[in-house]
Symmetry: C2
Subunit: 596 residues, 2 copies
């Protein structure tokens, strides 16, 4: 036995009793006569004391100890001297007077101290992940991930869901991102694919009558890694039979509210989630994943703009552009340089420029055009200004920002500006999670060649009343599709699926799949649809991102024990790596000339 | 809303109330005036009745219904007529008088009826897995798998374990079976491997101070699929710090005992598991995974054999052979043909032949040689027989089976014979699970070239007192290695790991890894060992096999929703399959000429 108690669990109950502890040397203070060590394990820290009067030999051994050595010690628990107490740790009133010690493992001087500090480069952290993970903050995040996952298991089990493992070696299909593939040794030239998410399999499970399925599922995407993607990520995948959209949303809403209240009491969360249609979200926030922790709603001013006698504006409007505005409250103090900076920012988002109207502080009642300033002010009439102010609700001391142009760009640029203002103005409470459902997405997007692509995936069902547009106007078809967003981030996406073969084939047709492609790629699902399918729907919800948000972290790498870098490599284990000629030959594959 | 109650949940509380149910048409009886349908969902079956006097239109629709159509019905719950009750289902006293019906999905005639019957070929079952999974027995097994997994989560969480997800895209290492590999698109020519089990990663987690880790982990092996292997399987993977072998065994023993009592009350299981060393298991049962549900222990008779004046026996003994026996109680009635059949069976296991002594029934006291029969009887003296009987404990009416030859073959043949006798004699109670720990395995096995290979894996630690043999007599080194076996099947394997760099390097040396191989394949682990490692150990335990045993199934395919065939292909989804030239070219790989 190396220990009979964990370091952080020593309490007054152990006073004057003999206990055995084991852990890492965290800090060491040699006072010549007495040596004090903070002994650390997962549960916390306990001060242990070596006194040559208690044991000469043990004290001698303690002199050798260095940071991160692993030891096991036995001794008596005593009260610390008055004044030597540490109120920051649970064991801070006690110490262990060591009678014997066993050195279990030595350590070189670590490349960084095992304390919570953000000053280590991520590269070093990932290379020495085993040391990085020793830090209390990393331990806490990984533990939180455990708690989140466990809560999901419990909650969904109680709601009569069955956890079912679906295969990881599956067939490659062309939906979504690029598949990772695995060469088959038995069937030469053939490949398995790793699942991007298991949508077809969970639909088959509904056909099988499992009624409610969930899985903590590993998903894989061979993408060019943007900011914060990983080649593999974890998803809470769920599917329900005999449900409408609201049933799925209600279930997930209940899960998330209870989950968050359970695992992080300092986070404030509403008791119901706001529900917005895609159109409403775009109109009010310029984004289908709006951050609702702050107001700053957008106002469309295209109608008013028609009466502004500026060529810039009139020319833009002629080409189907729109004008939208956002008001920054109390920002009248911004100077020319600030406006230039903000203009540069929105230009990077694609906007042609940034129009603003600065309303000075201290005006009571009517705001006169001549009191305001801004690049296009000379073109407005007082009536234009009155209408803009009435519509946006701007007040004395505010700045009205406006962008004109293509609808998509105006929305995305203002959505960006909105978030930027909120950050600069410190409008964001990091202890708030504001969830919302975004519904009624379009079923199809048109790509640059004019072809229709599924906006989310090919299995989402259209609104019944919109199916009439499938043939001639697919862009008008709304889907029974719903996203869960939180603080400006999409946390999950769901839909009610098509459960009818002919409707599914119709959708494949709109997208342009040939009959043979459909049969090869989706034949098994369509065949299953011939044998009695319940109406069903479900969601895939990112676990990594949720845990990162609950940990106040921006990057999902912070909540993954062994993440990969942006070039999809593992700095600790050194993957990917070259394999032997023998392995290649067994798989009947050859490498092309390598150009790196 | 398609339903407000599940079919199997309708009870007297709903009597005379209006309810809405949805499900599959399981059985349909058309009595002309009345149509009766068994409506099925996950929870069970409810009889629903269509009466034209209640609704002409609904009754008309009901006439169309066929097996496996999916419907939603609304009506009043009533008592069945006396005599029409079905005591086999929970809703058997009630029926629903349907007022309205919605047909949600039609079905072709399924290729087999959705009832529990074993008469369908596995190929058909796998091809139509979505129908196969509708059967109550399959639903139950998948549900049991859920319960087993959930219990593990709960139990281990309470014991302070943290569930940590380790990567699935890792680096290929040469231990164990063949790796599945995944070509990297970003680093051309390099590959990831899928984990066979995550041993190095969990060791790193111990170095990181997580103290107790577990994972329900997917593992992959590209093996030539023997009887009941799958390319991917699920493992309960766990690791603990500051532990000795007994700590790990105690923990797992507690988990399994509680788990089994919880999920299947009809199974009888001991309150402590037997513990046998590898040597004891081989001696007493000829196997390191003995089935302890029946006795039939082996007895070594090599010493006695020395005095038997048979050339066959003496020649065999000279070449280091051994003679061992097993007694089949009450098998005196076996005839010549039975013995021939049994001889053929053990010959298939590699044995040279089968010696037996048949002791007739009805002998009181001393058994005389001339009363017995058997192929070598003429060579025995009465003293030989007395000794054999004393040693084996055979009685009047028994048959003593003996095999002579190479130790390995004698053991494996008798172990096989032992199980065979138990099956033929019906000695096995299928409701008993007899667990045992097998300990003190040798650390190394010698392969046919005389090289030393790790008996289990390269990270297991040697007994401290045996490390002196590492240099000159590796075969003598016992390991801190322990298997969990049950009913003749290995359910898991564990060890206390090496946690010292130089000892680990020594073991690599015995196996014959070069310094550069060690550095390339295990460098990250050895580096981690430089920074303070706790003593640690753990296990990997097969989940599929455990659930199969708890379901009284021989094949793990019975407890996997979408298993693959023995040629590693998926008959439902059609994987593996060919991928596009574009995919291949992005990965910079080419296929060799395909020879199928």
């Amino acid at each position: 036995m190396y220990r009979d108690l964990m370091c952080g669990k020593v309490s007054l109950q152990n006073l004057d009793k003999k206990v055995k502890l084991a852990g890492w040397v965290s800090k060491r203070r040699d006072h010549g006569q007495l040596i004090f060590i903070d002994l650390r394990d997962k549960s916390g820290i306990m001060q242990i004391v070596f006194n040559p009067e208690i044991s000469q030999g043990t004290h001698l051994k303690a002199k050798e100890l260095r940071s991160e050595w692993v030891i096991s010690v036995e001794g008596y628990v005593k009260n610390r001297l008055e004044g030597a107490e540490n109120t920051e740790i649970s064991t801070g009133k006690l110490e262990l007077i060591v009678e014997s010690i066993e050195i279990l493992s030595k350590s070189k001087t670590p490349p960084f101290e095992i304390i919570d500090s953000n000053e280590i480069s991520e590269e070093i952290r990932l290379k020495y992940r085993y040391l990085d993970l020793r830090r209390a903050s990393m331990q806490k995040k990984i533990k939180l991930r455990h708690e989140v996952t466990q809560f999901m298991w419990d909650y969904l089990s109680k709601k009569d869901f069955t956890h079912i493992e679906t295969p990881i070696l599956i067939k490659s299909t062309p939906e979504g991102a690029r598949d990772y593939v695995v060469p088959s040794r038995i069937k030469n030239g053939a490949f398995y694919a790793l699942p991007q998410s298991p949508p077809q399999m969970k639909q088959i499970l509904m056909v099988s009558g499992f009624d409610r399925y969930f899985q903590i599922a590993r998903c894989f995407r061979d993408e060019d890694l943007r900011a914060d993607r990983q080649p593999e990520h974890t998803q809470l995948d769920l599917e329900m039979s005999f449900v409408h959209q609201n049933d799925v949303m209600d279930l997930v809403e209940g899960l998330y509210i209870n989950l968050i209240k359970n695992v992080n009491q300092s986070i404030s969360i509403d008791n119901t989630f706001e529900r917005l249609t895609y159109d409403q979200a775009m109109e009010r926030f310029g984004s289908d994943k709006p951050d609702l922790r702050f107001d700053l709603e957008l106002t469309e001013l295209s109608e008013i703009a028609k009466n502004i006698e500026s060529n810039i504006i009139q020319n833009s409007l002629r080409s189907k552009s729109i004008l939208k505005a956002v008001v920054a409250k109390g920002w009248h103090t911004l100077g020319r340089r600030d406006f230039d900076r903000l203009t540069d920012l929105v230009k990077k988002q694609g906007a042609g420029g940034l129009i603003y109207i600065n309303i000075p502080k201290g005006i009571d009642g009517q705001i006169n055009l001549e009191d305001t300033s801004g690049p296009l002010n000379k073109f407005y009439t007082q009536e234009n200004l009155d209408q803009i102010i009435a519509e946006t609700g701007a007040k004395s001391g505010d700045v009205i920002f406006m962008i004109i142009g293509d609808k998509k760009i105006v929305n995305s640029s203002l959505a960006f500006l909105r978030s930027h203002i909120a950050k600069e103005k410190n409008l964001i409470d990091k202890n708030v999670m504001k969830f919302a459902w975004i519904t009624d997405f379009p079923l199809f997007d048109q790509d640059e060649n004019g072809s229709w692509q599924p906006a989310h995936h090919v299995f989402s069902s259209p609104h019944e009343e919109d199916t009439k547009f499938l043939d001639n106007d697919p862009g008008k078809v709304r889907a029974n599709l719903f996203d869960l967003v939180c603080n400006g981030v999409e946390l999950g996406s769901g839909s009610i699926r098509i459960h009818d073969r002919s409707l599914q084939e119709k959708v494949f047709d709109v997208i342009g799949y040939s009959a043979s492609e459909v049969s090869n790629l989706f034949g098994h699902l369509l065949d299953a649809f011939e044998y009695g399918v319940p109406p069903h729907g479900g969601m895939g919800l990112g676990l990594d991102r949720l845990v990162a948000m609950l940990s106040y972290e921006d990057s999902i790498r912070e909540v993954i024990a062994f993440p990969k870098t942006q070039s999809a490599s593992d700095l600790l284990f050194g993957s990917p790596d070259f394999i032997s000629e023998e392995q290649l030959s067994e798989l009947s594959i050859e490498l092309n000339e390598i150009n790196e």
